[in-house]
């Protein structure tokens, strides 16, 4: 089973008092040779997973969802994440580094204690930290640091809370005008535009986002995980996502 960056699995959260529930968790890393899939699971309120013992089994289903697409021509990849959501971008780091791209990871957290340990990331990435209270790295939001790398980056991927994604979407919308850069894409302006939601549309987008949605069924049936999309539509994070090109979604709605 080949998992691609941006895809996720469902961990069966079985707290023993209710039916098992599906907890969507991005795949942090895979080891094909060893058949390993590693995940970073947020502690949550009841710590159900922490009560288990090493060696206990847990139900796992997947992989689900559409992956992040990299433009083969992009050499500078800017990754933006909040807290341990950076784990969702780890596979992408590996893929990009293997292709010889350079990767910068911007991570935001409220305080130094909540910063994702750099030891869990590949050595080759540049790791930039912003903390709300200034206890580590820049003081402020991760969005404040993005400007420094805007000109450097060919492509960008973000995994963050909704307000941060909204701020990043606004930044991305004004980027070309600010920088006066040419758009990566067809040399001639013509041709059909990429179909919304297609892999090609994501590949061509400067910014892709991984939305953070709680899910019910992951089969597209319950509509618990929808996000507002352009044209008044809504898209299901479980099927059409969780990776979206920034211009697929409606950032003003809700």
């Amino acid at each position: 089973m080949a998992v691609r960056a941006g895809q996720y699995v469902h961990l069966l959260r079985d707290d023993g008092i209710g039916p098992p529930r599906r907890l969507p968790i991005p795949v942090e890393a895979t080891d094909r040779a060893g058949g390993l899939v590693s995940l970073v699971v947020p502690a949550g309120r009841d710590g159900w997973l922490a009560r288990g013992r090493p060696g206990d089994g847990v139900g796992l289903m997947g992989p689900y969802g559409r992956p992040i697409e990299r433009d083969p021509r992009s050499r500078h990849l800017l990754l933006i994440a909040e807290g341990d959501r950076v784990a969702a971008l780890r596979l992408l780091m590996d893929e990009a580094l293997a292709d010889g791209s350079q990767v910068v990871v911007l991570v935001g957290a409220a305080t130094a204690r909540e910063v994702y340990p750099s030891s869990l990331l590949p050595d080759e990435v540049e790791y930039v930290v912003a903390t709300g209270d200034g206890t580590l790295g820049h003081r402020g939001e991760v969005v404040d640091v993005v400007g420094e790398f805007e000109a450097w980056a060919d492509q960008s991927v973000a995994a963050a809370s909704q307000p941060t994604l909204e701020a990043l979407a606004r930044l991305a919308a004004g980027r070309r005008e600010r920088l006066g850069v040419a758009k990566l894409g067809r040399k001639r302006g013509g041709g059909r535009p990429d179909a919304p939601g297609s892999a090609a549309a994501r590949r061509r987008a400067y910014l892709q986002v991984i939305v953070d949605q709680s899910m019910g069924c992951a089969a597209g049936a319950c509509l618990g995980c929808v996000v507002p999309a352009v044209g008044g539509q809504s898209l299901r994070a479980c099927r059409e996502g969780p990776a979206f090109a920034v211009d697929e979604l409606d950032w003003e709605a809700g």
Binding site: P20, G57, S214, G224, V226
Partner: protein, 394 residues
């Protein structure tokens, strides 16, 4: 083209065996189910169910077979949800509850559609609806709180897109209807009347009337008026879905049956609330949500128990079913069929497996049908309604 089907193994490894794609053999080649002396579906005297009733200690499923005479034929699990109206025949009593199975077509890869008793679709409205903003689902202890907001393409698109697929399935599809007035309910029923693939209608009476007032299901007169209007508009079997929150659910049940409902579904979700992590407000985008899952199971049992004592129509019981004991409990308090919702989100094959387990229970108890299990926990004389006192009676 026939949809490609894949049988999934059980997550969690409870019974990971592959289940073959066969329907239960119909009653035509099975001996008739044993009837009680009065010809009703009361337990056979001396049967394990009757024993469980007289001792009153354990649910039937918890009993080991006390006699050696197990039944080793094919168990007849058929249910007719609309006996008075040409029939709404289910091959088994396990139903996919509204909401959890979408329009059914989403799940053809993970669910053996032909082996589930019936599928109830998500709520269908007259016009397309975008649904609710913000967070829509949240896990809570022993359940799920949801507030989807009836997102959907509207009834005409549903008929165009999904009904042709439903018509190819042998499994009945019951379309759940949601509307803000009796007139809109009737219009929905009119458009679905005669559409191939639509086997019946379920009325979501937990809807809020658009001209204000409380939910239909809380008011016997309003609920009855909706059913009356729908009854005039269609000859399809009509299932009225009731709420546990009615002051006296028995009067609502009587009202909808008098108005022409062929069956009753109970219960819908129960209103609840979750608080955001930073305690700045409710967690769900719309504030309230509908609580489902094992958290509401005792409420469902109470409501079905009450309804079953005042109406004769079949009852589709639902509320927190996760295992065979929950199915047997609901049957015991008078449900003819059992719907699975929240637990099926994680495991869409659960209803199919529960139907197999129900057949096993029947075999162990020497029953050729599950029907003797229905109503085994109901009192001989009508119990007083819960509205008149629960923990304390004067």
């Amino acid at each position: 083209m026939k949809p490609k089907r894949r049988v999934i193994t059980t997550p969690g490894g409870r019974s990971g065996k592959r289940t073959p794609t066969v329907r239960r053999i119909r009653s035509a080649i099975v001996p008739a189910p044993p009837k009680g002396p009065s010809g009703t579906s009361r337990p056979v005297p001396g049967s394990p169910t009757a024993a469980a009733r007289t001792t009153g200690t354990q649910p039937p499923g918890a009993l080991e077979p006390p006699v050696a005479s197990g039944f080793d034929g094919e168990v007849d699990l058929q249910v007719d949800l609309a006996p008075g109206r040409g029939g709404l025949d289910l091959s088994n009593p396990l139903v996919g509850a509204a909401g959890a199975f979408g329009f059914g077509v989403e799940l053809v890869d993970v669910l053996d559609i032909e082996r589930i008793g019936a599928i109830v679709t998500r709520g269908v409205t007259l016009k397309p609806r975008a649904g609710n903003p913000g967070r829509r689902v949240v896990d809570v202890p022993a359940g799920l709180l949801n507030s989807i907001g009836l997102q959907g393409p509207g009834v005409d698109a549903v008929i165009d897109r999904y009904a042709p697929t439903w018509a190819r399935w042998s499994t009945p599809v019951i379309v759940n209807l949601a509307a803000g007035s009796a007139g809109d309910f009737a219009e929905l029923a009119r458009r679905l009347d005669g559409v191939p693939g639509v086997a019946g209608l379920e009325l979501d009476l937990a809807c809020q009337p658009s001209r204000g007032g409380t939910r239909f299901a809380l008011d016997p007169a309003a609920a009855g008026a909706v059913v009356t209007a729908v009854r005039r508009a269609t000859s399809l079997p009509v299932v009225a879905k009731l709420s546990a929150e009615a002051t006296d659910v028995r009067s609502v049940a009587r009202s909808v049956v008098e108005a022409g409902a062929d069956a009753i579904a109970a219960i819908n979700t129960v209103a609840g609330l979750a608080v955001a992590g930073d305690r700045s407000g409710p967690l769900l985008g719309t504030g309230y949500g509908g609580l489902s899952g094992p958290a509401i199971r005792p409420i469902a049992l109470r409501v079905v128990y009450e309804i079953a004592q005042v109406v004769e129509v079949p009852i589709v019981g639902s509320g927190g079913v996760t295992g065979i004991d929950d199915v047997l409990d609901l049957l015991a308090v008078g449900a003819s069929a059992v719907a699975v919702g929240t637990a099926a989100l994680a495991d869409p094959m659960l209803p199919v497996r529960l139907a197999d387990e129900l057949a096993d229970v029947c075999r162990r108890q020497g029953l050729s049908s599950h029907r003797p299990l229905v109503g085994s926990a109901l009192p001989a004389r009508p119990a007083p309604p819960s509205a008149r006192g629960v923990e304390y009676r004067p």
